[in-house]
Symmetry: C2
Subunit: 360 residues, 2 copies
DNA sequence: CGGCATTCTGAAAGCGGTTACATTCTTCGG
DNA sequence: CCGAAGAATGTAACCGCTTTCAGAATGCCG
């Protein structure tokens, strides 16, 4: 395969020095005389020498590669994080191996193993909830492979530092906003909570805020749906066809909220006049939705950057960080307002003198 | 670093066999007796043995890793492609190294070098236009590292296969649709075309379609903007404040279109009654925008999958593929309609008896 | 101008696997 | 029952680079 590739030996020979010197020119340039260094560099350039990472990793014991596993890259919020992670890692000379686990614990374990096999020097994970096998795998190498967990701040029982935000608190704040506006019938369309501590924390936060006002959250006011726009649409339709429809719908993320917005529109409802809707993530379409979406801004890029800084450092020496809680502010926009004083016309039971189709 | 890591030698010793046998158990299991194989596997499992990729790569000459460089992961369309690429690669036992080049040729060259250094067995690139250094680097290893170029179908002068679609044709079709509806004043908000053959091809396509109807495209009807929502907003505002505003705006991607939609709304225009707007990409918010966006569906996931299949194959043996042109259908939705019969009220020059603010 | 501390540079031993080749063990045909 | 072909396993030579250690070159001081 790499038959004709230029190796360090070729460079050494062409420059009339030893391989050790060539190696030093690239790794510890300060140890080599300026003149020699220049000669080697020139020769290397001329020959088109590209050091072979595998050999380097094998000899030095570090791969200068970091792994990251996200639930999916389909969701822009994770993609943004990965983008930031990669750029920052790049600045430190690390490469990024990505894998997506699709919200599946078994697949995640598999990916961790694969990444470890690749000799990664660090690993970024999303969320606090991971199969025990993951932690076991991580600890196997000695010393254990440095890892960070993002998207969460609850560092409770996990053996690695967190760089994230408080999902529950953010959910609480957005519900508090709704309560202040006067809403009492507040429903939630959550993401799937099994194996997903972030989704669960958001539900818990909503529930806590409601409880503080003597309200509760339970099906059918609480529904769990995959994080997609069509699911948000369907969920909103279901909620709004309830005999006692909510005046506000809290969505687990912006995709669900965008769908809910469309659902409300399909029913002839005006948001926020007839119904308030909130999202979570603050993706770039959120501020430009119709109406602009009140949502929680998730510091995706910043998590990526901080994770990169931490992992780059931890790959070299001992880890200087234990936990970081980032801000996740509520972005108040036009999709929330005071609840309507009475049931919106579009939701009222059909009467004989009006076309029943309004309810569809 | 990897002091206490379990090596193949540990497994061999514990299982009472030679390292060669252990290696064979994992790579050519058919060459080992079932009984022995089982014994080795059990021992490996018990010891928690994880083969070290770097050593493997060094000894075998292949890293089983593929690289991918995209302009940015911020744009969902690329993230979707990468997600598909990774999943498919995973099925073939390959890992994925990603990097983003931020539409910057120098940065891209750097990333290619870095990836090559990592010993990748294949590389996915976006678009046909790349600095010569990239091709040089790719050919340096012998045989050359297999590469694919996505997002384009114009395989003209590039030395690697393409898996993509015809940007110009898609743009032509969407403009044809507009022309059929009766539009004559058609403007375009394009992405930055320098160093970006896709953006340039879209402009060319629009121009070709217009030319076929005796129309032309030039500033101020043509403006280039970064691919962001706010830029689409600003561009639409600029276009609509022209003395002779367009009745349709073709946008280089969905982000620009979403911004344009918001811009039109801000001016009090109703889309599509007063103005038609089209996008490109068909991101998941497009169908749920208000109004739903007429756009071109870019086969992002499919390009990722096909690139994975090709690269996985090419990494093993000779490449079985030369070029694939995928469909990029126009999705007709509600953001396009016949042009208004006369200048919309909101765009008419202010008169003394109406508030001038309508124009802002 | 010699001796010693200080730099630089080179030789060579791995790093943890893979794999060509040698060796040993089976299995049969003659 | 012997010998050879064939199957299974072991031996050891790399893969390309880093890094320790020793030796050569240089600079400084007395």
């Amino acid at each position: 395969m790499r038959d004709a590739a230029v190796t360090i030996r070729d460079v050494a020979q062409a420059a009339g020095v030893s391989v050790a010197t060539v190696s030093r020119v690239f790794n510890r340039p300060d140890l080599v005389t300026a003149a020699l260094r220049a000669r080697v560099l020139t020769t290397a350039e001329r020959l088109g020498y590209v050091a072979y990472g595998a050999a380097r990793a094998l000899a030095s014991g570090r791969s200068r590669a970091i792994g990251a596993i996200v639930p999916t890259l389909d969701n822009q919020v994770f993609a943004v994080c990965i983008d930031a992670l990669q750029q920052r890692l790049d600045a430190h000379g690390f490469a990024l191996l990505v894998a997506s686990a699709g919200y599946d614990a078994a697949r995640e374990t598999r990916e961790v193993r694969l990444l470890l096999e690749r000799g990664i020097d660090g690993l970024m994970l999303v969320g606090a909830e991971h199969p025990p096998a993951v932690w076991a795998l991580l600890g196997r190498r000695a010393p254990a492979v440095p890892a960070v967990v993002t998207w969460t701040s609850a560092a409770a029982d996990i053996p690695v530092p967190c760089i994230g935000f408080d999902n529950a608190a953010a959910a609480r704040r957005i519900v508090a906003h709704l309560l202040e506006l006067g809403h009492r019938r507040i429903a939630m369309v959550a993401g799937p909570t099994v194996g997903n501590d972030r989704a669960a924390a958001r539900v818990a936060g909503v529930r806590a805020a409601l409880a503080a006002s003597g309200l509760t959250l339970a099906p059918p006011y609480l529904s769990e749906r995959p994080y997609t726009v069509p699911d948000g649409h369907a969920a909103a339709l279901a909620l709004l066809s309830l005999p006692d429809p909510p005046t506000a719908i809290v969505c687990g993320n912006d995709h669900l909220a965008l769908g809910a917005l469309a659902g409300a529109r399909a029913l002839g409802l005006s948001v926020p006049r007839d119904l308030s809707i909130t999202g979570f993530d603050d993706l770039d379409f959120a501020a430009y939705a119709e109406p602009p979406l009140t949502t929680v801004r998730v510091p995706a890029a910043e998590m990526g950057q901080r994770a990169a800084e931490y992992l780059a450092a931890a790959a070299i020496g001992p880890a200087p960080l234990l936990g970081t809680v980032l801000e996740a502010p509520v972005m108040l926009r036009a999709s929330t307002a005071r609840p309507p004083s009475r049931l919106p016309a579009a939701l009222r039971p059909p009467r004989c003198d009006r076309p029943a189709s309004a309810l569809r």
